[in-house]
Homo-oligomer: 177 residues x 2
DNA sequence: ACATATCTATCTATCGATAGATTGACAAAT
DNA sequence: ATTTGTCAATCTATCGATAGATAGATATGT
């Protein structure tokens, strides 16, 4: 065993590269070099690239889910703050796209097993907000919030203007705290 | 001369493929086969892939600009309707991503000359709305509208649920007509 | 001994890109 | 009217690099 599990370190490298350049933005050799092994060893852990990317999106979704917390225990305002913070950190701290946002944009050329996991990520985000909002919610829809966050990431990064993120999210934060 | 200018037919093929799979979702050979020439002929018109993608994004932006019309002659409501219709057709009619949305998501691995054109596309959209809104506008910011549209495309396509687009855009359309 | 994990070595396919020949159209020179 | 020169556009052929993937040997730990 290395410092950490090799499988995890491979996924770390893949996540970093994929969030910068998408599915074709990394190769088995890239990841092998990053981690310090040979590309055949990456294939040992993830036989195909589809396997790897699906596992990657799955771990990404699980980490997001854990960070967001249990929506049944959150007010609508707090849930919005949590999900905004998740995307804000992606932009401001990590300077990376949302992994599932990139994969979603490229979806028509991705292996179907990857798309399935990416879809589950977005369903999870929507359910999270729905649960926190409850049946009487009359504010912005979960879909509009998730869309705005995903799009704001693209916009702010493309314009190389992080403040555009706040401009895009503005009234969301205002209306929620 | 073929039925249409070869350069244009190459860009047509590239636009179609790029909107499905991103920058690495097409190759010179793909486009050559689509158009019925050899890949060397594609290189004749666009020496590098960066040249091609930059020209592609530029044409894409010009077409959008022409379709949207002059914002100085439009009410805020009408301008919102126009830009919503642009993205709605991308989803419902063309079943494709926004070209600059995909390129924006992949931006960190794209040639800089492509990113420059993509950024100009988004600046154009923001200016379009700003101009139509005028200085007294107190509705949603241009950045929030563009973000929502771009994100709604990703969300609806990923979930293979076009109705999610309306759910994400809903109150925008409602408040504007 | 066995399983896990890595290695070396290699395969086929494709990538973006280039060199150099060929074609056809059109204009200028004879 | 015919020849010559020029140019745009395409072709054939190929380059070196890299892609994802595989076979089989090797090392390590239990």
């Amino acid at each position: 065993m290395a410092l950490r599990d090799a499988k995890d370190r491979i996924l770390d490298a893949a996540e970093d590269r994929a969030r910068l350049g998408g599915y074709n933005g990394f190769s088995f050799r890239d990841l092998a070099d990053d981690v310090g092994v040979k590309s055949a060893s990456v294939h040992y852990h993830f036989p195909t690239k589809g396997d790897l990317a699906a596992a990657l999106a799955d771990r990404y979704a699980a980490k997001a889910r854990a960070r967001l917390g249990d929506p049944a225990t959150l007010t609508a305002r707090k849930a919005i703050e949590e999900i905004v913070s998740l995307f804000r950190d992606s932009l401001m701290v990590e300077d990376r796209m949302c992994l599932c946002g990139v994969f979603g944009a490229e979806r028509d050329m991705l292996p179907p097993e990857v798309n399935a996991v990416v879809a589950r990520y977005f369903e999870m985000l929507l359910r999270y907000l729905e649960t926190a909002f409850g049946p009487d919610w009359d504010g912005p829809s979960p879909a509009s919030i998730v869309s705005r966050l995903e799009g704001a990431l693209i916009l702010a990064r493309t314009l190389e203007a992080p403040e555009q993120f706040d401009s895009a999210i503005g009234d969301l934060v205002r209306s929620s705290g």
